[in-house]
Symmetry: C2
Subunit: 185 residues, 2 copies
Amino acid sequence: MKVSVGVSNRHVHLTNDDYKILFGDKEFTKRNDLNQPGTFASELTVTIKGPKKEISNVRVLGPNRDYTQVEVSKTDSFTLGIDPPVRNSGDLDGASEITIIGELGEITRKAAIIASRHIHVDKKIRDELGLVGINTVSVKIPGEKGGIIENVYLKDSAEAYFELHLDTDDANAHLLKQGDEVEII
Amino acid sequence: MKVSVGVSNRHVHLTNDDYKILFGDKEFTKRNDLNQPGTFASELTVTIKGPKKEISNVRVLGPNRDYTQVEVSKTDSFTLGIDPPVRNSGDLDGASEITIIGELGEITRKAAIIASRHIHVDKKIRDELGLVGINTVSVKIPGEKGGIIENVYLKDSAEAYFELHLDTDDANAHLLKQGDEVEII
């Protein structure tokens, strides 16, 4: 079955407490909605800093969560000088220490991961598409730099937009862009 | 069968004439040998410049060739603001225009490509490994971000070191590093 691609550039999720340290009482203004219901890219950016270099203009996504998490690509990790593990969102076991610099302050957290390839699903989507009881799938990518990507995790939420999320390394390696269609196998 | 991975960062090949424009009579000094017999990374670097940004410290490889070619990743192409095609080395059909800045001068050439995934072979390797008459293969990548990459071109030379060359996008997307072993299927 077909699924459309969403490309995730490096980004940050914050707890309410960490948001306060970085931005104080500043309003968490939406720039644009993301495809997953209720989520948005905010107007705010931070700088993320590792032992080697820093990367600026990293988007803060909303709403805030109960964990602070920095999602980077392997390419970013070489720039920063960190070696983050591949993890599902919210699993910060072994996450790399990173400094997040906001307008009013900075925090250092064990928060940096490379996000697992994942497809957003909910109960309705699983029922309709015959994906009940399945944890991971493989996806066939067409094109000159195509192939098959494995270990693509089905990520459940109460209400999902059916979409494959890839980081910029996976997207660029396979010449994929936002909205391209690929095939779950 | 197994093959080891060589990761190719962005780099430049020059003609003798273009070398002269960029470096004059400067000696083309070897920094280190590369695995392919007779090839080397030189001590020299250039800056490559597209309509958007430039990238400095891009290694010049030797010896010089009968074409000038700039090999970049898709990620680099976004930085530079160009849209290069995927091509086998030496095939500059539709290559993107790019400016190459050396110590003494600069040149602008239709020379930028994304190199096809390729495996270096020669007649002896083809005979020994049963690869006679085969143009492309697929390669199985193990690991958390593994899968299968397709359209891997077998590149012939008179004397080759048997190695799979991937750009940094492919390597980073699959968490591969120089010397890793993968499987031709």
